[in-house]
Symmetry: C2
Subunit: 398 residues, 2 copies
């Protein structure tokens, strides 16, 4: 099935807003096995919208339109959709009532211009928006089914997952259920991860489980997008492959799914009844600021110190924490440049003594700072889990 995405709005067209709605939609569709083949961006302009709808209706089987459903005069999606279909707009009494109720619940009166958001092309299929006033709708233009979605990211994301994707799968005759399994790792690059995961049985044989990567330096996300007839069948098929991915990526996996490195560290400290002090130099608070604001961290995080003369054992004693993490950095001399590097010393002190890990990272000031932050937190994770802290990482120079 040929799917297109059509983004509307002057803020996107002029580059004032970076189009993260597009990348989110395309990624989500790819994860459920729907490949996007074309993307279009036009402004809040009647002629451009009409032309874009006509073109997409000639090429695609399905088109997701994003934006232009707001209450103001520059939002034109419903109007132009009606024109493209050769029909009039008609009031959805149902949506008017839903909007009025929503305002009433918050003790407010609905502004008159919200009525515009309940005007849909005659014969359009209504698509629910449980968290906003811009309802979605679907119409057919040319040979394609068009799904209209709101520009507000959280409204779009929910409508996409709950309303649009199920309709697209049905339209494409794609049955069954899908799931996305994610592994977050630190220390391996995309090409090495690809090698490490080569030839996993089931990944190769059954085309319904798709492997993908997404690098967010310094972490790498490894994704398994899977499809099955039922949840039970999907779980059965996926569990062995998940276990194999976990085994092969080994100690480099810092978290899975919604988890994160810093959450794992906080939870592990909490579970052990531990407390933590953090000492930093050139990372200048970046380590503490990833960990301390987490819900629950207040029970664990004692103190942070940013200075040049830090040692984990001394910090532990002085702060009264059960554990101390110190990340010291010796920067290369000279100004910032692509081969600017630093020697990083990570120290972890607990009642039992002190562990130390030294690594050299190269890649410019910001790169080195981000890498040292992650390295420090990862060494602490490894220490708390009883894993080796000195396993070589891909970003390291000898």
């Amino acid at each position: 099935m040929r799917v297109e995405i059509l983004c509307t709005g002057d803020e996107i067209l002029t580059g004032k807003t970076v189009n993260t709605n597009y990348s989110h939609m395309a990624r989500r569709l790819g994860e459920v096995g729907l490949d996007v083949i074309w993307g279009t961006t036009v402004g809040d302009d009647r002629a451009s919208l009409l032309a874009a709808f006509a073109r997409a209706g000639e090429r695609a089987d399905a088109v997701i339109v994003n934006g232009g459903l707001g209450p103001t005069v520059d939002d034109l999606s419903q109007e132009v959709a009606a024109e493209a279909c050769g029909v009039k707009l008609e009031l959805s009494d149902y949506w008017m009532q839903r909007m009025a109720e929503s305002y009433a619940r918050r003790g407010r009166v609905m502004p008159a211009n919200n009525k515009k958001q309940a005007m849909l092309p005659e014969g359009a299929e209504f698509i629910d928006n449980p968290i906003g006033t811009a309802c979605g709708f679907a119409v057919t233009i040319g040979k394609a089914r068009f799904f209209f979605t709101p520009g507000v990211p959280r409204e779009m994301r929910r409508m996409l997952d709950e309303q649009v994707i199920p309709r697209l799968l049905k339209l494409g005759g794609i049955t069954g259920v899908t799931r996305l399994k994610r592994f977050h790792s630190f220390g391996i690059g995309e090409s090495r991860a690809d090698e490490m995961l080569a030839g996993i049985p089931g990944l190769a044989i059954d085309g319904e489980i798709k492997l993908g990567f997404q690098a967010h330096f310094p972490e790498l996300e490894t994704k398994l997008a899977a499809r099955g007839a039922t949840e039970a069948e999907l779980s059965a098929k996926l569990s062995a492959i998940e276990a194999e991915v976990r085994r092969r990526l080994g100690n480099f996996v810092v978290a899975e799914d919604e988890g994160s490195l810093e959450r794992v560290v906080v939870e592990k400290l909490k579970a052990g009844g531990h407390t933590l002090a953090i000492g930093e130099t050139f990372t200048s608070g970046a380590i503490a600021s990833r960990l301390a604001p987490l819900p629950g961290a207040e029970a664990v995080f004692c103190k942070g110190v940013i200075a040049t003369d830090i040692a984990a054992d001394k910090l532990r004693t002085e702060s009264g924490a059960s554990h101390a993490l110190a990340v010291l950095m010796q920067l290369d001399p000279g100004s910032d440049r692509p081969d600017f590097g630093a020697t990083i010393t990570v120290q972890i002190a607990d009642g039992g003594g002190m562990v130390q890990r030294v690594a050299r990272l190269v890649g410019g000031r910001d790169w080195v700072r981000t890498g040292a932050t992650e390295l420090g937190l990862d060494c602490l994770r490894r220490h708390l889990l009883g894993l080796p802290v000195d396993e070589r990482i891909d970003f390291e120079r000898r």
Copy 2:
């Protein structure tokens, strides 16, 4: 003149990479008075590229194509451009030699597949890339002039500014010089800034100076995009308007052009021979990590402390710094939500005593944390410059 942007590549089409090249190009073109009217995204697919070139060639006067100039087989831009023009590819001896020289300078041998990057459509106009192996080129398809640019962001940005924009301006018969003046402010929202700057003479009368805003919470960027016949005429015209914008935005302007709030603070401390200690609670190192990594900050930044029991005067005495900034936060109880807020107390101590500023911010945990970081740094800037630290900001609740 009708300008389009056509982005190519599977990474962009599938959403794996967020398309920041598009937003950069559209913004830069807008700043020099060239408005983008249509954006297209297609993958590394011959048929889609050919169709996209044909469509854009029917609609536009000029098209910037981004990506697909690499040395690998999936990079198809030159090939498809030649096909769309009905011509063959021919080797650019000049570019082959330039690439070979560049490899030789680094003591390396040029890989054979780089030759592909010197194959241009017959009759194409060569466009220089001084920092990469993907040269650009221009051809005419349909009624539009197409400019092909590399996907690597820093190569694209430089080629856009130095090579493509001058050609586009010439093509559109737009003469003279352009300049972009930027003001960074904290404490005023976009709509209030728009009101504050209403009716500036010259902005209204002469359409050649365009006012625009870009919000990067918590800062707002106010931009003056100006055009003139010569640099001298441009400066003369712009200087009075710049001064008026500066006067109206007043103490809220934290920096201009390439400057930043944290740079201003570091420079001002340095100029006064001062040193600084920073104490934070819920911002957890975010304040220190904006300031301490700056070049030159090592001479100024003494120490950072993240703890709950902080007071600026005590921190100053203990650290031995001449100045201390403490940002304390009392968070609302309960979990994160859109109306989650905090009461922020900023304290600044120097030899002369202590200044204090209390503000309440609301908007969720992350929002409040980012706002408190900026507020703390801005109070310090104001104190160092002798400005009032308690001027009300738009984000503040009473």
